[in-house]
Amino acid sequence: MNPGQLPDAWGRFGPYGGKYAPEVLMPALEELEGFYSKVREDAGFRNELDGLLRDFVGRPSPLYFAERLTAHCGGAKIYLKREDLNHTGAHKINNSLGQVLIAKRMGKKRIIAETGAGQHGVATATVAARFGMACTIYMGRVDMERQAPNVYRMKLLGAEVVPVDSGSRTLKDAINEAIRDWVTNIEGTHYVFGSALGPHPYPMIVRDFQKIIGEETERQMKEKEGRLPDWLVACVGGGSNAIGLFWNFLDKPSVKMVGVEAGGEGVDTGKHAARFEGGKLGVLHGARTFILQTDKGQIAETHSISAGLDYAGVGPEHAFYRDEKRIDYVSVTDTEALAGFNTLCRLEGIIPALESAHAVAHTMKLAPKLGKEQLLVINLSGRGDKDLQTVMGAA
């Protein structure tokens, strides 16, 4: 297996991925793919991006030894990859920055994006402000209510936030509306897809801009422990933070990886977002992948306490590595995620995003079963300030 060769020229990861888009978008996707293939090799682009990642985002993000969480679990040595310390408080800005730099070089004047938890919206609005580009963010009405601080942040940054009232009024519907905007305003507008989802080349581009997380983790772990980690744990909505941490280690067989999906109120209740447990193969928003849907192929409504994991589809690259048995996927419930959230607050003085709290929660089950010599890294993909209202409501 050579992860560097995926996706293939058709944008496929094995049977997953592809480019299932309306015809209006196809030329734009081809243009983006062609432009990206040149820019990724371009030293000037790389230098500009690296400089901004260092001085604007604050990379590298620390790899932090969670001493008290480790003692609490009583097994593996737990490290946190602190993506929550990035500017704007999550890993999302790694991708937003890269894509906006591409858009600028393509001569685009306007940026649009969807957002679920609001982290991708805030990151994109931030970078758009930095580069003086017009920015419109689509967000489901339900998510706007549960992530109100992020809505205000986006507005402060000069973005227009458009509430989406169709469907379940969450991330899936925000993507529909962003796509509708893009097909209408294709000239001059770049759509900054926020996760490792969508039609090719998005899953590849988003992964490429996020894989810095794993590259830094390898370097930092070697500095601290003199070797590779044994376990990586990350939450999976679309799956950009997870593929960002995992990708660099896919060809290192000693490193085991677990993606954590949102189990909501329990997979057996039907109120969840565990696509691998409850979903079937389908096509949504441009990619062939596992999707929560009815027997007749209508997209199901999902549920998670975490807006960023509340989505019916999973990134196609994840589906591929699950088939390959390279990455294991599990789910934790809302209740378990809240326990993870509270534990990290109390033991480490870190308020994690509810998304990342899913990875913490699974680690609390996994770490006690592992030997003390085992090294485990949680991708702490975002900080939890945005979630205080939800957590207070759940208490």
Partner: protein, 268 residues
């Protein structure tokens, strides 16, 4: 001969253009959809695009989104849909295009659903989010069943892509009048005529135009440049109104008559 092909041969002989209504299956009701199809045919519609509802119609405007939701709420599924196709076919030879998104058809089984649609009396498919690059598997299925696979071309489609589309397309080529989603619009984009003329010149298949066409004037303008017009949202909007069916039916009948008239003028 496939009914779609036959319709365009007949129109060419008569020097007329195609009128292609799009309606959402199951709206305002199942029986009404069948009546509506027969009514549209009696007024001169040449091909029917019958929308199969999908929960996430990302290329559709508010009107068609609302129609899809209404149909899903009413429980329109594959059996109900094919029941409508059968009921129309029992009384009419109007060509029927199954118009949808890929996921529901994929989930129902591309081969299986295509075979059932053929048996019910459908003549072709148009799946909005299945571009030509992703169509080879379904193309094979459609060829075996003598179903036409219809593709969209857009103002953004490059000449190279157009050639590729034309190689794979059958039945007719559906040109999208503008970049954007379905829904009524007042005018055409500035470069509409130039782009449509180029597409028409490159295509051996009949070319029809849809998206945003809602007035007899627009239908007339389109018919001067290509082989027909598709009208969707202007009709669908009226099927969503809260009115008794006889009143709705009469309104649609009058509107359809006005929209169809320009397509039936004999043009040199």
């Amino acid at each position: 001969m496939n009914r779609i092909d036959a319709a365009f041969v007949r129109l060419k002989e008569k020097k007329q253009k195609a009128f292609i209504p799009y309606i959402g299956a199951g709206v305002p009701g199942i029986q009404e959809t069948v009546e509506l199809a027969l009514l549209l045919e009696s007024k001169g519609a040449d091909v029917l695009e019958l929308g199969y509802p999908f929960s996430d119609p990302m290329a559709d405007g508010l009107v068609n989104q609302a129609a899809a939701n209404r149909a899903l709420e009413k429980g329109v599924d594959d059996e109900a849909y094919l029941g409508m196709v059968k009921a129309i076919r029992a009384k009419s030879q109007i060509p029927i295009v199954v118009f949808s998104y890929l996921n529901p058809i994929f989930r129902l089984g591309l081969d299986d659903f295509a075979r059932r649609a053929k048996e019910a009396g459908a003549d072709g498919f148009l799946l909005v989010d299945m571009p030509v690059e992703e169509s080879s598997e379904f193309q094979e299925t459609c060829r075996k069943l003598d179903l036409r696979l219809i593709f969209l071309a857009a103002p953004t489609t490059t000449p190279a892509r157009l050639q590729r589309l034309l190689k794979e397309a059958s039945g007719f080529l559906y040109y999208i009048s503008r970049t954007g989603i379905t829904g009524e619009r007042d005018g055409f984009q500035a470069d509409f005529e130039e782009k449509l003329t180029a597409v028409k010149a490159a295509s051996k298949l009949p070319v029809v135009v849809g998206f945003g066409i809602s007035t007899p004037e627009q239908v007339n303008a389109v018919c001067g440049l290509c082989d027909g017009a598709v009208v969707g949202s202007a009709l669908v909007r009226r099927t969503l109104e809260n009115k008794p069916w006889p009143e709705m039916r009469t309104e649609i009948e009058v509107l359809a008559g006005r929209l169809i008239a320009p397509t039936k003028e004999v043009r040199a």
